[in-house]
């Protein structure tokens, strides 16, 4: 069946299979370059596959997964490729791992992370200023979670430490790179948003605005009205 007998087993292996196997087996996202160089090395080929060839293989693989009703997809995360399950099977995995709900970070951590993500490299003073509170604890916690890292000190008086987000941050948030961050909206845009009151207010304003349970009741009747 196979003409090229001497390298039979390797020759049968397509770039797509290598892509599939590496993104399956690796513990972190695999870069396109890594895939190309491993492929060229093992097939003893002088020519590296092009990045486009890998991207095409990703597309083909995902199309085949979808067509065949598979529960897996290749994702572009943190500048690399990674195999992960589809959202449709999440309830089954959550039941299996007994994970009661999807992950979220606490508000202080998330605010701190968002400020640094958009302003990076950024300092503690910048974060404190935006949040109006001391963010020392939140920054230390995010460093220990490997969502932030220190890249140096700013060349200004006091030489404050500069923080950036990590590859881990990109991967945990399903981003390929920082360009993938959602747009930071203008406050005017937020305040002028027609859906602002119903959907975002509770998130932006403290929940405490429903002191008397009133706005909570309002919200639920609104929901009824719109459904």
């Amino acid at each position: 069946m196979c003409d090229n007998k001497q390298k039979a087993s390797n020759a049968e292996v397509t770039l797509g299979m290598v892509l599939e196997a590496l993104t399956f087996a690796a513990e972190t996202p695999v870069s396109v370059e890594q895939i190309c160089s491993v492929y060229a090395e093992v097939t003893a080929s002088d020519v590296l596959p092009s990045e486009e060839a890998v991207e095409e293989a990703v597309e083909n693989l995902n199309a085949s997964f979808e067509q065949e009703g598979r529960a897996l997809r290749i994702q572009y995360w943190a500048g690399g490729l990674r195999m992960a399950t589809t959202a449709t099977v999440a309830p089954f995995l959550e039941a299996f791992f007994q994970r009661e709900q999807a992950r979220r970070l606490t508000r202080p951590l998330m605010e701190t992370l968002a400020i640094i993500a958009y302003k990076q490299p950024s300092t503690k003073v910048e974060v404190d200023t935006v949040r109006g509170v001391d963010s020392g604890y939140a920054i230390r916690k995010l460093l220990s979670l490997d969502l932030l890292s220190i890249i140096g000190r700013a060349d200004v008086p006091g030489r404050p430490i500069l923080y950036t987000t990590t590859d881990r941050f990109l991967e945990e948030f399903g981003l390929n790179d920082l360009d993938g961050l959602p747009n930071l909206r203008q406050a005017e845009e937020l305040l002028g948003d027609a859906n602002f009151d119903q959907e975002r207010l509770n998130l932006l304003m403290p929940n405490g605005l429903d002191d008397n349970g009133q706005s909570r009741a309002n919200n639920s009747s609104d929901d009824q009205a719109t459904t």
Binding site: E27, V130, V133, P182, A187, L209
Partner: protein, 240 residues
């Protein structure tokens, strides 16, 4: 000394947004005198029970008072530039900037939530450390609502000597232990019932014990708003 830190809850800008929103006033035209008075009432209560991190609140109290003072001053005679000069501008700018990042934080949190439903292989699928700082679930209300409840309960409490001297009598540890005993038999208990008929210092120390236990995931604080008080129940930590 207790370890309840306000920075784990809402901050002063949140309190301002809350007050502005509650009055349904325009953020670009804040009635500074009213908002300042309401803000100070919260901060005085926080200060009187010695919560850590109240300094951040006091900074904004000072800012509000200085804005209020400047607005009372007669305006300079230059009519043309009068509109450009609003002592509230700095505060408004900070609130608007804060809203932008709160919005971004919420968007990113949704993104994290969606992404966390996609599982990767093996160990990497359960980065337990990222799951652990899940504190918000156990406090389904804000520090400000809790302060409100505390204030109302304190108003009904019998008069006594100054809190600072009295509070030496009760320790957070003892109060935590008392709450644990009660929650051993009761599924949930309201703050009001916990401190019924007690002195002000007893109430304050119980309040602080609740904050600390909620922070440590030992109990869950639920908002039962119609009573203007809140309810606590056992948290989900098995090792407690």
């Amino acid at each position: 000394m207790y370890r309840v830190e306000l920075e784990d809850f809402e901050g002063p800008l949140d309190l301002l947004l809350l007050l502005i929103n509650r009055r349904e006033v325009d953020i670009f035209d804040i009635p500074i005198a009213q908002i300042t008075n309401e803000y100070l009432a919260y901060v005085q209560l926080m200060d009187s029970i010695n919560l850590d991190g109240v300094a951040d609140y006091i900074y904004f109290a000072a800012l509000l008072i200085s804005i209020k003072a400047r607005m009372l001053l007669p305006q300079p005679e230059i009519d043309t530039e009068e509109e450009d000069f609003d002592p509230r501008q700095e505060l408004v700018d900070r609130l608007l900037e804060y809203i932008r990042y709160k919005d971004a934080a919420e968007t990113l949190n949704q993104q994290l939530e969606e992404r966390s439903r996609l599982f990767t292989r093996g160990k990497a699928s359960t980065p337990a450390e990222v799951e652990s700082p899940e504190k918000e679930v156990l406090v389904q209300t804000t520090i400000f609502e809790l302060m409100n409840a505390l204030r109302l309960v304190l108003e009904e409490a019998p008069e006594e000597e100054t809190i600072t001297i009295e509070s030496q009598r009760y320790s957070i540890e003892d109060q935590s232990e008392r709450i644990r005993r009660i929650l051993f038999t009761e599924r949930r208990v309201s703050f009001r019932d916990l401190v019924r008929g007690q002195t002000r210092s007893f109430i304050v120390v119980t309040f602080l014990a609740i904050l600390e236990m909620a922070y440590g995931h030992e109990i869950c604080i639920l908002n039962v708003s119609d009573e203007n008080a809140f309810v606590i129940e056992k948290g989900e930590l098995e090792n407690v």
